[in-house]
Amino acid sequence: MNDMSQMMADVPARSNSLFDVAVRHRAVLASLFLLIFPLIMPFKALAANILIYGLYALGFNLLFGFLGLLSFGHAALFGTGAYFCGIAIVHFGLPWYVAILIGTLGGAGMAAIIGALAIRTRGIYFAMVTMALAQCVYYLFYQAESWTGGENGLRGINVHVIDIFGLKFDFLDPLTRYYVIAAFVILALFALSRILASPFGAVIEAVRENEARARASGYNVLLTRLLTFILSGAFCGLAGALAALHLSIVPIEMLHYETSGMVVMMALLGGMGTFFGPFIGAAVFMLLENLVSLWTVHWQLIVGAVFVACVLFFPAGIWGTILRKIRP
């Protein structure tokens, strides 16, 4: 994974070049960008979807890009977040913010279960175990029809008003809905930036760089992997919860292994192991799909070709390639 690791020394250092200042305030810069983002997108719901899938890819990237573990079962974390959030609202009538919390915890909890089982395997086997376990999760939610709606999906996650400190926002208004979702994504960006800059962030890096050395230095490698997987699950769970609120439904397809494969594509397209890469990957992927599918029903051909070209010629991904160019 050398190619990817090349651009990973992404830790804010104390220097005052423009580049380093930008890196240190990356979450702030991203937040500013997200404010104007919906205005340049074809439509608001797509902008919100890009945020949600971007966050999903971000969570995935924490595990894949930063720790170096390729999971093919992340749909289980994303989907569990969505279902838990949806079920909290539909079956328990809980307020939206509690539902988001439950969705986030659901993603983390599912990660804890899958992680505890899979964490001892590595490489391709880790990818396969996570895929198999995610399929079992799919089946579980599929069969629990009275809770999840089964194949029909969960409907009725109807939140009309978002109430924050007495202020009421119309959640059916597309722009408002976007900003509410963006607020959570921005929070997540800050959290992720902090995690990466934290002592634990250094441990993640150390384990990716050299497991044996990390172990000899006194780090519990398995526990580090598990905790990273759980953190990744929390981000993906939050993304799922936001998706449930955004679309007011949870389709069973969210748990499908294609949803797991998609996030791998997004992360690679954008540049794994970079902070913004997955987000950019998600944006490019979804925009491409959106634009091309307006123009031809054979959009998968174009998406596939772009992807293959990316693997062959830009292994660092879009953002990774840009970073290489602009990094002093």
Binding site: M1, N2, D3, M4, L70, L117, A118, R120, T121, R122, G123, I124, Y125, M128, V129, M131, A132, L133, Q135, C136, Y138, Y139, Q143, Y257, G261, V264, M265, L268, H298, Q300, L301, V303, G304, A305, F307, V308, C310, V311, L312, P315
Partner: protein, 294 residues
């Protein structure tokens, strides 16, 4: 349980074996390519599908099923050669992620190209007249064509085994599967070996596709379902182990047929549960080498 009898269980077991033979046939190429090239070929399902369509094309051009059985593995194998030479080869030495992702994207392209050429709807693919109908196998009736597929799979495995065990090229391949360095030491152009292995692997996938066509018709999406099943077979058997793929393929067939009998709605998830359990107990699969790819 209504209608359970020993005969039924015997038929069920047999059906499981026959189904397993198809899994084996499909997974063997995947396993071969992985063992030799450490490429996890996500486009394997697409090669399978292309095989069925090439077979269809042969029929449309006025050929018959038997001709298709010869043309398909050659044609698909050649596509495989081209893919290896121009797409996969530049990625050797860059870890397993890149070939995996490349073939993932490639499968999108192949499926879409087939849709463009043949349309989105599937086509019927009639069972060759000689092999139509069901025959009494002593424990019940079984479609003649499925027996034929079982036999064909056995023949392919036998030929592959002879090739690997008895030819000098096979020896190089086997040596290379154990230690890729050896091939270079032997003074053989390694890239030629990889090329041929990829061609053989995809050729067998194509053959599996044309053999499956009379069972289920052809449709651009037909490769995606079986790909998941083939991964289960390959992983359970131990990635890169051909014997493992055979054992695991038959086992998966039997697991599917037994769950079909007692809890049919769980038939699909049962194989993933099997894979999860096997991997948790024995992470390298039945015959896989420990530590490979870790």
């Amino acid at each position: 349980m209504a209608g359970l009898s020993l005969d039924l269980i015997a038929v069920q077991l047999f059906a499981g074996l026959a189904l397993g033979a198809i899994y084996v046939l499909f997974a063997i190429g995947l396993s071969l390519i992985f063992g030799m090239l450490t490429v996890v070929n996500f486009a394997h399902g697409a090669f399978f599908m292309v095989g069925a369509y090439v077979g269809l094309f042969v029929l449309m051009m006025g050929g018959n099923f038997w001709l298709a059985l010869v043309v398909v593995p050659l044609a698909v194998g050649i596509i495989g050669l081209i893919v290896e030479r121009f797409l996969v080869r530049p990625l050797y030495g860059r870890g397993i992620d890149y070939p995996l992702l490349l073939t993932f994207g490639l499968s999108y392209i192949m499926v879409e190209l087939i849709r463009i050429a043949f349309g989105k709807t599937g086509y019927p693919f009639d069972t060759p007249e000689l092999l139509q109908g069901a025959v009494d196998i002593g424990i019940g009736y079984f479609p003649l064509y499925r027996l034929f597929v079982l036999g064909a799979a056995t023949v392919v495995l036998l030929v592959l085994w002879l090739f690997l065990e008895k030819t000098s090229f096979g020896l190089i391949i086997r040596a290379g599967a154990r230690d890729p360095q050896i091939v270079r030491v032997l003074g053989v152009d390694a890239s030629r070996v990889w090329l041929v292995v990829f061609g053989i692997g995809t050729g067998i996938a194509g053959l599996a596709g044309v053999l499956a066509a009379p069972l289920q018709g052809v449709i651009p999406e037909m490769g995606s379902t079986i790909l998941a099943e083939a991964f289960v077979v390959t992983v359970v058997g131990g990635m890169g182990s051909i014997g493992g793929a055979v054992v695991a393929g038959l086992l998966v067939g039997i697991v599917v047929s037994m769950t079909s009998l007692f809890a049919p709605e769980m038939a699909k998830v049962s194989i993933f549960a099997l894979m999860a359990i096997v991997l948790l107990v024995r992470p390298q699969g039945f015959f896989g080498r420990a530590g490979l790819m870790s």
